[in-house]
Amino acid sequence: MSGLALQNVVKEFGAFKAVNDVDLTVPHGTFVCMLGPSGCGKTTLLRMIAGLDLPTSGAIRLDGEDITHVPTHKRNLGMVFQSLALFPHLTVGENIAYPLRIRGAPKEDQKKRVEDLLSMIHLTGYADRPVSKLSGGQRQRVAIARALAISPKLFLLDEPLSALDAKLREAMQVELRQLQQKLGITTIVVTHDQREAMTMADTVVVMSGGEIRQAASPIEIYRRPADSFVADFIGQTNLIEAESDTLNHVTVLGQPVPGLQLPPGAAKATISIRPEDVHLTAPGGGALTGTVTFVRDLGGTIETFVEVAGRQIVAVSTPRARPEVTVGQEVGVALTPDVCVVLRK
């Protein structure tokens, strides 16, 4: 099978299980983002793929070949570190040529390849500069070019954009994604920034406590989160208890929602409703009734906090799509079955 496969990978540090029985298949040419809060095991997983850490048990396969115990330097990969780890004693060109020099490529080929890579990252003519003279974004690109110099089988990035300011980060996300699509290289990025993951990835892998909670396309993760952790971690959401009676009539906060189905046999479940799916209406008319407690007007969007039966619900809408409401006013909250995502326990 072409691509990367992790099979029952476990990593223990003493009694602590950093990565717990992870199974993951990354087809060739896919862009995968591992997303999770700090300490969720995503960096440890990346380091095991790179060979910098050895799994306690389990296997890592690349293109069908077991590479679990292949030393890092024989894996032919490219990795960008959070600190970038550019060599301070080498120039931009020497940094990029390092993997070629180590492999004994002829001087002429090295020079040619460095020029190609520099033009790819829009830094033509920078070969002889010391890395200390570059800006943050330029260093970022040099680190990427160095990792791609040998056209590696796997491109790994550990929080690559975290050192950049917000604007530059957003621009680099787009650039990185376009570069990956152009080269068609299997890429794995570790990040804690869900916006970054949504922008770049074909597949987002949400991790927590050393386990994969969900691995799916960004839109699938957003629309159909598997559990309350994923729903809450990816974007903003309202997590509400739903109850079902023996006739399978589902009520949410005491209000019947016709057409909503809970899993067979379940009397209770948590549902997730995205704030942009919560529609405010006039009170009554089959909807939940609540009181507006706070309005956050951000100009482009307006967040309205509504208290319904003791629970806070957030609704987000554009200014034009929302009725004028003020704090203390009674409003109706319309819930339709298609916006309620029933979560796995």
Binding site: A50, G51, T72, G78, M79, F81, Y98, I102, R146
Partner: protein
């Protein structure tokens, strides 16, 4: 933040104490020594103030020139041996657990508490025929019969490297601790074996530290005068031994002073050359 340069006399006052100490304990004695190096020696007595070059002229003989050359060569050999041994050692040490590091550093610091005399006699026992390490090799069947390893050049070198090694580690340690460990990891992901990563990344990234350490150990080794006498033959005696001999046993203070001044000048010259060479290398 921009700092104003010191303006008034008061701003410089924190420097007064170190300046006074440096003047009283370094500038004055060294000035005296320079002066004495031009004085006339009194046969059988002490010296009288004069301004003669006899002492320097006597020094510029083949014999003393040879001793000077040997001293410099010995100090360079000690410096290179120390750095070659201490660099990988310290690198591995900084990658160990904190507790292991502390045990090693305490052990190294305790070597510093040993005087040159104790180190000298300990090694002369270890290198002796009757009680030395060759007896262990004989017991293991690796050698036919025990033999004395001292006096010899290798014995002097071993003793001096042993004495300077803890200093070398202590000077290299902070720089290696500060070195970003992801640099070597990056080198490994880019295709370098751990050994190549060490030589292509760690060593060049620490070039300035390594040069500074070489100079420090070199100067430290130049001053050693007991170990060459305890572990070496007369031809292994360094200039420091001869200076001590002239100053204390021959009572020829002017000649000893002249040799000392010459040694300082040559040392400064070599250090300056190293620094200039280092700058050139950086520019290239």
């Amino acid at each position: 933040m921009r700092r104003e340069p010191p303006q008034t006399f008061g701003d410089y006052s924190p420097l007064l104490f170190p300046a006074a100490m440096l003047t009283i304990f370094f500038v004055v004695p060294f000035g005296t020594m320079i002066a004495v190096s031009f004085f006339q020696r009194q046969q059988g007595g002490f010296y009288t103030p004069a301004f003669v070059f006899d002492n320097y002229a006597r020094f510029l003989s083949a014999f003393f020139g040879g001793v000077l050359g040997f001293s410099l060569m010995m100090a360079i050999a000690v410096a290179i041996c120390c750095v070659v041994l201490a660099l990988p050692f310290t690198y591995l040490l900084t990658r160990m657990a904190r507790r292991v590091q502390i045990v090693w550093l305490v052990a190294l610091l305790s070597i510093l508490s040993l005087s040159e005399v104790i180190i000298g006699f300990a090694w002369s026992t270890l290198f002796s025929r009757t009680a030395g390490i060759t007896n262990i090799l004989v017991a293991l069947g690796l050698m036919g019969e025990a033999k004395a390893l001292t006096p010899s050049f290798a014995a002097v070198l071993t003793g001096m490297v042993y004495q300077a090694f803890p200093y070398t580690v202590l000077v290299l340690f902070p720089a290696l601790v500060r070195l970003d460990p992801t640099l070597t990891e990056a080198a490994r992901t880019l295709g370098a074996s751990p050994l190549r990563a060490f030589f292509t990344v760690v060593v060049p990234a620490l070039r300035n530290t390594i040069v500074a350490t070489l100079i420090m150990v070199f100067i430290f080794a130049l001053g050693s005068y007991l170990l060459p006498q305890l572990l070496g033959r007369p031809q292994h005696w360094t200039l420091s031994v001869l200076i001590t001999d002239q100053a204390i046993y021959q009572s020829n203070m002017p000649f000893a002073a002249a040799m000392a001044v010459f040694l300082v000048l040559v040392t400064l010259g070599l250090v300056a050359l190293t620094v200039i060479a280092g700058r050139k290398g950086e520019a290239a």
